[in-house]
């Protein structure tokens, strides 16, 4: 985002410099490690100043991410990272705001906030660690779980159609929409980098395996599943982007890569304009306002 596109002056930081003192508590083989690696790398390549970065999350294994990233951070409530981050971003548009969370956190309990982050074009990056399961609570279906999945509260198999995260975000009007697989940290890093340098609401969905509880969406399965976005795709055409996603779905594929990118005024731009229009400034004389209440 604006604050970060031009690398900061200080001696450049290495990816490892963005590691915090807290070691990840994830299970061996968890896909979230791949996402985290991608985040470190993207931050390093952009030279983001950690003190200017705010990493906000909800609740879930994925939502533990901020503990592992050198930054200011909030570990909020299940599903609420988006609106909390909106407040932070509007309060301090100069900061880089990064939300990291899970499919349950973002699309189940937090699903009501998503459309508004996107249509308001809040200037932040949202990295969704989509393992198609509730990891932290030990394995229940999430909105992205496949019907096949027998899980904790669905012993006889699932009954719901899974949702399609990138199609949702295209519909919601996110101005940057990408998708990757945690098994490909390079692509993850590229897309996260793109998201962080994008002005507006940037969404990256990352397929991430949960070896402990999701026994069907394995690494091999994901490898088979993904399909690169065609070279010739016009990333500025949302209709075409939806078309690609719909076609992929028909052939049981998931498109990876950058699907859509557009420029639109961000919510903080709009707020700044509004203040400009009324010639607002912090020491505007309150008497002028109070006088309006004279009889």
């Amino acid at each position: 985002m604006s604050a970060v596109v031009e690398p900061v002056k200080k001696p450049a930081l290495k990816a490892s410099d963005y590691k915090s003192e807290v070691k990840p508590v994830w299970c061996p083989g968890c896909g979230h490690f791949g996402v985290l690696a991608g985040i470190y790398r993207a931050l390093a390549e952009l030279g983001v100043d950690p003190t200017q970065l705010v990493n906000i999350s909800g609740i879930g294994c994925s939502s533990r991410t901020p503990y592992f990233v050198q930054s200011y951070k909030m570990h909020t409530l299940h599903g609420r990272a988006g609106p909390v981050a909106t407040g932070t971003q509007l309060a301090r548009p100069d900061l880089t705001v990064l939300v990291t969370g899970g499919d349950g956190d973002g699309f189940s309990i937090g699903g009501g906030h998503m459309p508004h982050l996107a249509r308001k074009n809040v200037n932040m990056s949202y990295v969704m660690m989509d393992n198609r399961i509730y990891g932290l609570t030990k394995g229940q279906v999430s909105p992205t779980s496949r019907r096949e999945m027998k899980a904790y509260t669905t012993p006889y198999g699932g009954v719901d159609n899974p949702m399609n995260p990138v199609l949702y975000m295209l519909t919601y009007g996110a101005t940057f929409v990408g998708q990757a697989f945690a098994g490909n940290p390079k692509m993850c890093a590229e897309l996260i980098k793109g998201a962080l340098s994008h002005r507006g609401f940037a969404f990256v969905n990352i397929l991430s395996q949960c070896p402990s509880f999701n026994k069907i969406d394995t690494v091999p399965y994901f490898r088979e599943l993904v399909k690169e976005v065609p070279e010739d795709h016009d990333m500025t055409d949302v209709d075409q982007a939806m078309h690609i996603v719909n076609l992929a779905e028909r052939e049981d594929k998931v498109p990876v890569g950058l699907l859509y990118k557009a420029e639109r005024p961000t919510l903080d731009d709009e707020m700044a304009n509004l203040v400009r229009r009324v010639n607002g400034h912090p020491d505007y004389d309150l008497r002028k306002i109070i006088d309006q209440s004279r009889p």
Partner: protein, 571 residues
């Protein structure tokens, strides 16, 4: 009640200009240096329906909307039907007639003044000027300063062009003329004007909260519309941008309180305003505000509950939720306003307390204050101090939740070098990293509770109304205080020994002050507009006092007469 005290009720169909004529009278009287206290009820339905506006005017200070009216002006038959039982010997009754849609029969002793409002307005070619005819008549009959009214009208209408001004003034004059033609048989009149004042404003409770927020240095406001709180956001949305601040309408109340916490973490003074249903939805997030020690202000303009309840009616029944409304042990600082002046001053206090104690603060207003306009001394911005949160001085290693003398840990805005930290809803050690050890949980609990305890002693001392011993002491909160003030005055005039105790800080409770007050009273009465006697509950739980609860919940405030009667009953 001062003898210069006059209460005028205007009623009719919503849309007939009831509200505006009330506002005109209020403004004119305020300009004339008088005290004004108004009270409205809106149609429950979406459009049309019965609307009522009551103006109390006095040369002296006014504390409530009064018992009933002295002058009643009926625009239509419905208004007459709904109020005729209140017409008593001595009441002045102005009504639309002849030519109105009803023929009242006038009770013994009532002073009737038929004014052909509709007919006259039609003759003048604008039915919309009906309320101006009424206004003129009222001005003539009860000495509502005519010149001032003309000014007010002129200012109000000039935007709409000269002919609009003219037709309204004509209607006004015609009204005066029609009234002048009648013989005044009562002696109701507005107190004689004092020197015109420029040290006063007239403002509604909701606008006053908005104004208080500005005076309190508000940076960020997020809310979701809800009756009767929406006007707070309306006022703020108009003026906050002038101060460079940000207002956003969120997708729901959970999002608005979440945005408030996010902005507060980023170092901004932040708040939201809602009513009961919204406060209920904020329960979980307010627990997070407490646990993460994030400053946040929630204004709850209470309405009739439970559930959707009576959205347009008055009640003070959210105290349980305000104090106990989170899972686990998660206290909040809870304040309640008495009147419109408090809406200004205590919103400033509430913002300051949230910043100073890094705590969620809930400020309770109510449905009758929300729309009540009152004259308030001009609030001089220089008289308000904006208390900043304690910020890290950059010395040594930074720990967000450091255990300090006063249990308040310095905060650090994002961007501060060397102070990167996490704000979290998990139990945590001083650095913010999760720590579930028994010692830590008990210690951090103590920190968070001990932190806000001093507020009970340091917030302005509870006002005690009266001295020495009393047979009955009345403890009241919220807008009920204003009613009790007048009741106590009358009881004293009647020679009774009564005292009042008016807490504005409801949690943490200043227990010693309660005890000290009760020690001087034979009996303690606690009138509240809710079903369970919610403050009585907390008094019983936290003090040794065994109060007599007096609860009503009919959607309307108490009247002084009700309190007087109750006290005389228990004396």
């Amino acid at each position: 009640m001062s003898k210069h005290d006059l209460i005028v009720r205007v009623a009719g169909e919503g849309g007939e200009g009831i509200i505006s004529s009330g506002d005109f009278i209020a403004a004119a009287c305020a300009r004339a240096g008088l005290e004004v206290y108004t009270f409205k009820t809106f149609p429950a339905e979406i459009k049309g329906g019965y609307a009522m506006y009551q103006i109390r005017v006095s040369g002296d200070q006014i504390f409530n909307q009064g018992d009933t009216f002295d002058v009643f002006c009926a625009f239509n038959g419905e208004a007459y039907e709904l109020n005729k039982h209140l017409l008593r010997p001595g009441t002045a009754f102005v009504y639309d007639g002849p030519g109105g849609d009803f023929e009242p029969e006038i009770p013994e002793g009532v002073h009737a003044y038929p004014i052909p409002m509709t007919k006259t307005a039609k003759e003048l070619g604008s039915i919309r000027a009906k309320n101006m005819v009424a206004l003129g008549a009222l001005s003539q009959l009860f000495d509502i300063p005519a010149e001032t009214l003309r000014e007010v009208l002129t200012n109000k209408f000039k935007r709409k062009g000269d002919d609009v001004v003219k037709i309204n003034l004509d209607a006004f004059d015609k009204g005066m003329e029609l009234a002048a033609a009648q013989t005044k048989s009562d002696d109701w009149r507005v107190a004689s004007p004092k020197a015109e004042r420029d040290d006063v404003i007239i403002i509604s409770g909701n606008d006053a909260v908005g104004l208080g927020a500005l005076l309190g240095g508000l940076d960020f406001f997020s809310a979701y519309p809800i009756t009767p709180a929406t006007e707070v956001a309306k006022y703020v949305s108009k003026h906050l941008p002038k101060r460079g601040g940000t207002l956003i309408q969120a997708e729901d109340e959970i999002a608005s309180i979440a945005q408030v916490l996010g902005a507060s973490y980023a170092g901004k003074r932040s708040m939201t305003a809602t009513s009961g249903p919204g406060l209920a939805l904020m329960s979980e997030m307010l627990g997070m505000a407490h646990m993460s020690e994030t400053p946040a202000l929630v204004v709850d303009v209470q309405r009739g509950g439970p559930s959707t309840g009576l959205p347009t009616k008055h009640e003070q029944s959210d105290l349980f939720l305000a104090i106990h409304g989170s899972h686990g042990d998660a206290p909040r600082i809870v304040l309640a306003v008495e009147n419109v002046k408090d809406c200004i001053d205590m919103t400033v206090d509430a913002l300051n307390l949230s910043e100073q104690y890094q705590s969620p603060v809930i400020l309770l207003s109510d449905g009758s204050l929300a729309f009540s306009t009152q004259t308030v001394p001009y609030p001089n911005p220089d008289n308000y101090t904006v208390v900043q949160r304690k910020r890290w001085d950059g010395e040594g290693e930074y720990h967000r939740y450091a255990r300090t003398e006063d249990n308040i840990s310095p905060m650090a805005d994002p961007g501060t070098p060397g102070a990167m930290h996490i704000a979290t809803g998990l139990e945590h050690g001083e650095s913010g990293t999760p720590n579930y050890s028994p010692e830590n949980h008990e210690g951090m609990h103590a920190k968070r509770f001990d932190k806000i305890q001093p507020v009970a002693e340091t917030y302005k001392p509870v006002e005690v109304d009266g001295e020495g011993e009393a047979d009955v002491g009345i403890i009241a909160w919220g807008s009920t205080i204003g009613v009790v003030r007048e009741a106590i005055q009358r009881l004293r005039d009647a020679g009774h020994k009564v005292k009042g105790f008016y807490p504005k800080l409801l949690w943490p409770m200043p227990v010693e002050q309660y005890e000290a007050f009760a020690a001087t009273c034979g009996k303690v009465l606690v009138p509240e507009v809710n079903y369970q006697g919610q403050l009585s509950h907390f008094i019983r739980a936290e003090t040794s006092i065994r109060p007599i609860p007096y609860t009503i919940c009919g959607g309307l405030p108490f009247t002084p007469a009700m309190i007087v009667a109750k006290v005389e009953e228990i004396l």
